[in-house]
C-alpha cells in the first residue's frame, strides 16, 4: 500500500493518472454470475431511462 501511494504520488498529468486507474481496474474482479450480469444490465437500463427523463425535462423546459 505504501509503495502504491509513493508510486501514485509521483508528479504526473491528470490524464496520466486516469489512464493508470483505467489500467489498474480494467478487468472487473467480481465473478460474473447470472445475478451479477442481470443486476448490471438492469442498472444500465435504469440509467438510460433516467437520462432520457432528464433530457425530456431539459428539452421541454427549453421549448416552453
Amino acid at each position: 500500500m505504501e509503495e502504491n501511494n509513493n508510486e501514485f504520488n509521483q508528479p504526473k498529468t491528470f490524464i496520466g493518472s486516469i489512464r493508470e486507474v483505467n489500467a489498474k481496474y480494467r478487468t472487473p474482479r467480481i465473478q460474473m454470475t447470472p445475478i451479477v450480469k442481470i443486476s448490471l444490465y438492469a442498472l444500465r437500463f435504469y440509467l438510460i431511462g433516467m437520462l432520457l427523463i432528464l433530457l425530456y425535462k431539459f428539452i421541454s423546459s427549453f421549448i416552453h
Binding site: 502504491n4 501511494n5 508510486e7 501514485f8 504520488n9 493518472s17 486507474v21 483505467n22 489498474k24 481496474y25 480494467r26 478487468t27 472487473p28 474482479r29 467480481i30 465473478q31 445475478i35 451479477v36 443486476s39 448490471l40 438492469a42 442498472l43 435504469y46 440509467l47 433516467m50 437520462l51 427523463i53 432528464l54 425535462k57
Partner: protein, 422 residues
Amino acid sequence: MNVLSRTFYRYRRFSKIIRLFLLIAGPGIIVMVADNDAGGITTYAATGSKYGYDLIWFLVLLGPIAYFIQEMTVRLGAVTKRGYSEAIFDAFGSFWGWFSLIDLGIANQLTLITEFIGMTAALSIFGIPPVLTVVIVIILMGLMVLQGKYWTWEKIAIFFCLVNLIYIPAAFMLHPSAADILKQGMIPHFPGGSASTLFFFLMANVGTTIAPWMIFFQQSSVVDKGTKEKDIPWSQVDTIIGAFFTVLVAAFCVIVTATVLRGVDIESAAQAATMLMGINKYVGTFLAIGLFDAGFLGAICISLATSWAIGEVFGWAHSLNQKVREAPWFYAYYFSALLIAGIVVLIPGAPLVLITLFVQVVATTLLPAALVFLILLLNNKELMGDFKNTVFQNIINTAIVVALIFLSTAYAISALFPNVFK
C-alpha cells in the same frame, strides 16, 4: 465481602465495555445524525406542519431501514479495508467506478451547497451576514481536519451530533400532549387529504433517510478509523445507536412544528425558525441552532466522503491521520469543495432552488447502483468470507433496496414533473 467483590467486578467489566465501545463508536453515530442534514430538517419541519403528529410512526420505520443499509458498509469496510469507491472500481471495473465517482462528486457538491444554504439561512436569523457564516464554517471545518488525527476529528463531530439533540428540549418547551403524540403519531395510519401530497411527503422523508454519500462516508470512515473484523459487533451497535438518534431527532423536529405550526405551509426550516421566534423565542432560537448544526454536520461528512473517495481511487494519501504535506491532494479537494459551495451560496441570484431540486435527481441516479453493488459485494464469499450476508440479511436488504429504488425514483420524477402523480 463476596457481594462487594462481585459488584466491583461487575462495575469494572461494565466500565471496560463502555470504554471499549467509546473507542470504537463514531462512524455510525456521525453518519446517522448527519443524515438529518439541513435538507432533512426542512423535510421534517414541513412534514410536522402539514400532517401534525400523524407521520411519526413512518419516521420510526425509517430507522431500521437506515441501519440495515449502513450496517453492510461496516462489514465491507472492516473486512476489505478499502473504501466503497475503490471497492466498486475493483469489483465492477472502471466504467461503473467512474460513473459512481463522478456522480458522487456532482451529487455531493450540490448537496454541500444546500448545506451552506441551510447554515447561512439559520445564522441570518441572528443577524449574521451569509459571508461571515461561510468564512466561519470554512475556518471551523478547516481546524477540524488540520489537527491531523482521525480520533480528534471524530470526537468533535460527535459533539456536533449531541448539539443536534437540541430539538428535544425545544419540543418539551412547547408542552405538547404526550397522549396526542402516542395516539396520533405512534399508531400506523395514513392521514386524509390529497393522496399525491401525502405520497410526496412520504417519498421526501424516505429520500432524506438514505443518501449515496452516507454509504461512501461510513465505509471510508470505518477504514480510516482502522476498524477490524473483531470490532464489527461494536460498530454495529454504534450504527444502531446512530439510527436511534436519527429517528429521535426527526421525530422531535416534527413534534416542534406539529405542535405550533400545524396547517402552515413551510418551505424551509429557516422559515419555521423565524415563525417560531414570534411564538417562543427560545424554541425559534433552538430550531435555528439545530438547523445550523444539521447543515454543519452534513457538510463535514459530505466533503470528507468525496475527498476520501477520490483519494482511494487515485491512490493518493487520504487519511485524517495524515498532515497536509503528507496528503496534499486529499486536503486540497476538501477545501476546494467547501470554497466552491461557499462562493455559490454568496453569488447574488444564484439558482439555489434549482440546485436543491437537482440534488435529488442526481442522487437518484447514483443510489440504485450504490445499493445494488452493496448487496452484490456483501454476497461475494471470496471477498467477505464469513462476513457475507446471511439469507435473512439478503431478504431484508433486498426488500429495502427495491423499495428505496422505487420510492427515490418516484420522488425524483415528482421533483422534475410536479403534476405527474396528481
